[in-house]
């Protein structure tokens, strides 16, 4: 919680993060000058949106110290459901509402099973995800849905611009702003963090911890549905494998951000996703085949986590650059 932690320490990490973004950006711009073109930057902004929403949902779950492996399944089911609603001729907002409702309902099932009935989180979400992935086939038996997509205007969510920036970026920023406010400036946020870091003490402090665990899954489900909505907008159809690739970038974003900024938070996730999208787009722009670019991302995730870990700091300190380090990260422990 930014206001709750040592501000100096936070800002030192923030500076480190900015430096990293600039360094990565510069490296990519040198390798491919068009990286800095407005089209490319716009592309990054747009491509960030879906992964960013999924990562945000995951952030809530990670804050209450749980995991959610049902992301792809939920995305598939919510995506196909929204597709079916659109194909049936309903207006866009009905489809979005249906998607959010489905995401929330599935999140509620997992959340209640985990918090209220004490089922283990990983297996439960695997099971729920598996069921959802299967249910995604119920509408068309697996055929893609594209009818009415143009008419209903869903592609505008991806293509339209508002004040020079893509609508999807605005959606992302708005949702992140709300999430940031809730998690870092309200009682709800304090309760979330307390639930994650010591559920017993939180319970003794009058916080309804089970409710917050369930809520985290509900929010994750909703965010996943919104993420897949943007994917549908991007690809102009609903297919059962939409969202299959949401999970790994989302986890990578949450953890990379947490490693760099020193804890799981809304801003850390945004930062992590920004870095990852920059890299993915930069490599794609250069035409680097996916099998190299995905590897590079993994490598960078690993290097980032390693470089910002406590142990590595201890090592650096023992190599005699302790003084310089202490200045750059005041208030840091051991």
């Amino acid at each position: 919680m930014s206001g709750f932690q040592d501000n100096m320490r936070q800002s030192a990490r923030g500076v480190g993060f900015l430096a990293l973004v600039i360094a990565v950006g510069a490296a990519l711009a040198i390798a491919e000058p068009r990286f800095l073109s407005s089209a490319s930057l716009n592309g990054i902004a747009r491509h960030m949106a879906a992964n960013g929403l999924a990562a945000l949902g995951l952030t809530f779950v990670v804050i209450v110290r749980r995991f959610d492996l049902s992301l792809p399944g939920v995305a598939a089911f919510a995506g196909m459901s929204m597709g079916a609603v659109i194909a049936a001729g309903a207006p866009l907002w009905v489809a979005v509402a249906a998607g959010i409702a489905i995401g929330a309902a599935i999140g509620m099932v997992s959340g209640v099973a985990i918090s209220r009935f004490g089922l283990p989180d990983i297996v439960t979400t695997i099971a729920v995800g598996s069921i959802c992935a299967g249910m995604a086939f119920l509408y068309t038996g697996g055929r893609s849905i594209f009818q009415n997509f143009f008419q209903v205007g869903i592609t505008d969510l991806n293509d339209a611009r508002l004040m020079g920036l893509g609508v999807s970026l605005w959606i992302l920023l708005a949702i992140y702003a709300v999430a940031w406010f809730v998690m870092h400036r309200t009682r709800t946020g304090v309760a979330f963090y307390a639930t994650g870091e010591n559920p017993v003490a939180a319970h003794f402090s009058g916080i309804a911890t089970k409710r917050y665990v369930a809520l985290a899954y509900v929010l994750c489900g909703v965010c996943t549905a919104l993420a897949v909505l943007l994917i549908l907008a991007e690809s102009g159809n609903a297919e059962t494998n939409k969202g299959a690739n949401l999970m790994m970038p989302a986890y990578a974003g949450v953890f990379l951000g947490a490693a760099i900024l020193g804890g799981t938070s809304v801003l850390a996730t945004l930062g992590g996703i920004l870095l990852i999208t920059m890299l993915l787009d930069g490599f794609a722009l250069m035409g680097v085949p996916y099998y190299y670019s995905d590897g590079m991302i993994s490598l960078i995730l690993l290097a980032g986590v390693l470089a910002f870990s406590d142990t590595a700091r201890g090592w650096l300190a023992s190599f005699g650059i302790r003084r310089a380090f202490r200045r750059s990260a005041p208030g840091e422990k051991g």
Partner: protein, 504 residues
């Protein structure tokens, strides 16, 4: 006295901005029981963590049996014959007491691939228990044991090693009752007789005279004095003064001068199957009610029942005359009841967070001034004021609670209680691990609180209960024991708590 088995000189350790240890000199001889004293945060635990290889010193020298040693892992220390019971013993909850005791030395050949001989373990456990008789069901999983039983397992674990030359006990008595303390001292006597050096940390100064041969006093990360108990007796030295660096008078504040006010909390015939039965008591504004009970007497459970953690099976609760049902801590807090739990590390604090996070946690409504978003500036001001009131040391609002010494962690919980502005405060074992200076402050604080709220102090320390409370009762095996008339004397209270009898 024989040549020292363990010496340290110039040992220092730094945690970020905190210089926890500075140039510490220390020695202990075989068969010597040496007490390590000092106020909370003086650096005692840090020092013994270095001795046991859990953390590494920044500088200085340590020798064992005359040879210089460098412990990089706990294994190194164990190999050198140093066994430690940490202040917060780490055990494996799902394993039985027996398996915990022999964890890591299941067979003679240490290592990952030695075969476990469960019968042999039982035999060794029997041998161990015959040397150091403790009443303990070792087939029970540690997670189901009480705090005392866990402490006993931890001590047995520490002394089970055959080559132990130095045994370090970090505040072993803080969770023990008087009787169990005697058992522990007997056990220490046995070890001493076998030539094992014992380093012993405590905040109970009278214990020093009962068991120790010598003592060191730590202050601000250095060892400021070392002498034998005989020297101290001869010189009429006040340990408390030495520790604090200033003179301290009576640690208990004067009792209330005025008559108690209205009843705030009335408990009527409260029952919880298996824990306590038919408890009736009244807590009033303007007085401190003391409840003395050994571990297992149902004290902790009673506190948790009132606080709504485990609602009682039957009985009534009245707050300010109204009957209430408190089915959760939240309901209790909303009704104005606050519990300072006995297990502060798991029940009281979010250790990974600073005071600024922990203090407002039980009253987020106040932190948000009734709204949804937090009033951060006001919250910070309140937290600063309250941590000042409890004399938190160091007075940092942004250091994670895990970075504070045990006693200071307790002070953060107290500040949290103050922040919640309750009408009824229930303190369970409020000064476990708290140094004498801070204890005086906490008692004074309770007294101060009692002016506007009802205060109940529940403790297994008879002196504490008797010293701080205006009115006392005892809990014995789940039943309450009250004085026939008037108030308990200290000895009558002790008898009531231990035997369940009212001395006439």
């Amino acid at each position: 006295m024989a040549a020292p088995i363990l010496t340290a000189s110039g040992v220092s350790k730094r945690f970020g901005p905190v210089q926890a240890l500075q140039n510490v000199a220390f020695h202990v001889a075989p068969g010597e029981v040496h007490a390590l004293l000092g106020i909370n945060g003086a650096g005692k635990s840090t020092f013994i963590k270095i001795l046991s290889g859990i953390i590494q010193k920044d500088g200085g020298q340590i020798t064992v049996g005359g040879e210089e040693v460098h412990f990089r892992t706990p294994e190194d220390a164990i190999r050198a014959g140093i066994a430690t019971v940490q202040q917060h013993p780490e055990l494996v909850p799902d394993m039985t007491g027996l398996d915990n005791i022999f964890l890591g030395r299941e067979s003679a050949r240490r290592g990952l691939f030695s075969r476990i001989d469960q019968r042999g373990l039982e035999r060794r456990a029997k041998a161990l228990l015959s040397r150091f008789p403790v009443a303990l069901d070792l087939t029970l999983e540690v997670g189901r044991m009480s705090a005392v039983e866990r402490e006993a397992v931890a001590i047995l674990q520490a002394i089970a090693g055959e080559n132990t030359r130095v045994l370090i006990l970090d505040e072993p008595t803080s969770t023990l009752t008087d009787i169990e303390r005697e058992d522990l001292f007997a056990l220490m006597g046995l070890l001493k007789a076998q030539g094992i050096a014992i380093i012993y940390i405590t905040h109970q100064l009278e214990e020093v005279f009962a068991i120790a041969d010598s003592f060191s006093i730590f202050r601000n990360g250095t060892c400021v004095a070392r002498m034998t108990v005989d020297e101290a007796k001869a010189g009429r030295v006040s340990l408390a003064d030495l520790m604090l660096g200033e003179a301290i008078g009576d640690i208990f504040p004067p009792r209330a001068a005025t008559a108690p006010g209205d009843a705030v909390l009335e408990v009527g015939a409260l029952c919880l199957q298996g824990d306590f039965d038919g408890i009736s008591l009244t807590a009033r504004k303007g007085e401190v009610l003391g409840i003395f009970g050994l571990v297992g007497s149902g004290c902790d459970e009673l506190a948790k029942a009132i606080f709504g953690v485990t609602p009682p099976d039957s009985g009534t609760l009245r707050l300010r005359g109204q009957v209430v049902r408190l089915t959760s801590p939240r309901a209790a807090l909303d009704a104005g009841v606050f519990l300072v739990p006995g297990d502060r590390r798991t029940e009281g604090l979010v250790l990974s967070r600073a005071a600024l996070f922990n203090v407002p946690l039980a009253n987020l409504r106040r932190a948000a001034a009734g709204r949804w978003s937090l009033r951060r500036r006001r919250m910070q001001g309140d937290a600063r004021a309250l941590t000042g009131d409890v004399a938190l040391h160091p007075p940092s609002l942004t250091t994670p609670a895990s970075g504070f010494s045990g006693g200071n962690q307790q002070k953060i919980v107290l500040a949290k209680g103050l922040y919640s502005q309750a009408d009824v405060y229930i303190f369970v074992e409020p000064t476990v691990g708290v140094d004498i200076g801070a204890r005086a402050k906490i008692y004074a604080l309770m007294r101060q609180l009692s002016r506007d709220a009802a205060v109940i102090v529940i403790s297994s320390d008879c002196d504490e209960v008797h010293g701080v409370a205006d009115r006392t009762l005892a809990l014995h095996k789940g039943r309450q024991v009250e004085p026939v008339s008037g108030v308990f004397s200290r000895d009558a209270l002790l008898m009531a708590g231990i035997m369940g009898e009212v001395a006439q």
